[in-house]
């Protein structure tokens, strides 16, 4: 088996994770979520963005017992805890933002109160600046 050595010392980038798909219908949401958690292991900055049907990933009250799939929404609670730790601990140089695009949220009749975690609601124009300023965009 090949051995890998990651030269990540001192490497700090800002990742934008662009979640645009509803959960469970496709594997996109789960795959992006796993990538977010990997970025935490490497202490990278992350904008975890939800737009289009991706906003449904954050909807409170997922119950997948009837469809025989794993409910991955508790993971968002872990992400929120991870973010709070990073915000509070001065030794952790990691800025995480959980962002919902206002236009997508409103188009679906949702408000920030419908979500499982605390989010920043930003307009498309504000979000465009954030996407443009990131070092890497992971799309799903």
């Amino acid at each position: 088996m090949a051995e890998y050595e990651f030269e990540t010392e001192g490497v700090k980038k800002t990742f934008t994770f662009m979640n645009r798909k509803a959960p469970y219908g496709t594997v996109y949401a789960l795959e992006v979520l796993e990538t977010v958690l990997i970025s935490a292991a490497f202490e990278q900055h992350a904008n975890i963005v939800f737009a289009d049907d991706g906003v449904y990933q954050l909807k409170a009250g997922h119950d997948t017992t009837g469809i025989g799939m794993k409910n991955f929404s508790p993971t968002f609670g872990i992400i929120e805890m991870e973010k709070e730790d990073a915000d509070e601990d001065e030794d952790i140089d990691m800025v995480w933002r959980i962002i919902v695009e206002k236009e997508s949220m409103e188009a679906r009749g949702l408000t920030a109160d419908d979500f499982k975690v605390e989010v920043e609601v930003l307009s498309a124009a504000e979000l465009a600046d954030i996407v443009d300023a990131s070092d890497c965009v992971i799309s799903g």
Partner: protein, 100 residues
């Protein structure tokens, strides 16, 4: 930043969201089924006709050709590029965002 769109605007909202979230001045390249968005005279044409005012817009020639679409059917202001042009755009713009 270089934005790519690979879905037809008739099938998905990828182009709409790209145009909403791409910062003014950033480049947009239409590839695969995304090339359908670059065609004149469709009910979707207004999107790219508007986009060329705010962004450099490109379309991948081999994907047009594969779908029987000619370069003269492409909306004015959209530049047709080949694979080498795609590589140049990627190299020139550094960061990439894929709208799937």
């Amino acid at each position: 930043m270089l934005h790519t769109v690979n879905k037809s605007p008739f099938e998905r909202n990828s182009l709409d969201t790209c145009l909403r979230l791409a910062k003014k001045g950033s480049a947009i390249l239409l590839i695969e089924d995304g090339v359908i968005g670059a065609v004149k005279g469709t009910v979707q044409s207004a999107k790219i006709e508007g986009a060329v005012k705010d962004h450099p817009v490109f379309v991948l020639g081999p994907d047009l050709k594969a779908r029987g679409l000619a370069e003269d059917q492409v909306i004015d202001g959209v530049k047709v590029v080949d694979y080498a042009g795609f590589v140049d755009l990627a190299e020139e713009h550094g960061t990439h965002s894929a709208w799937l």
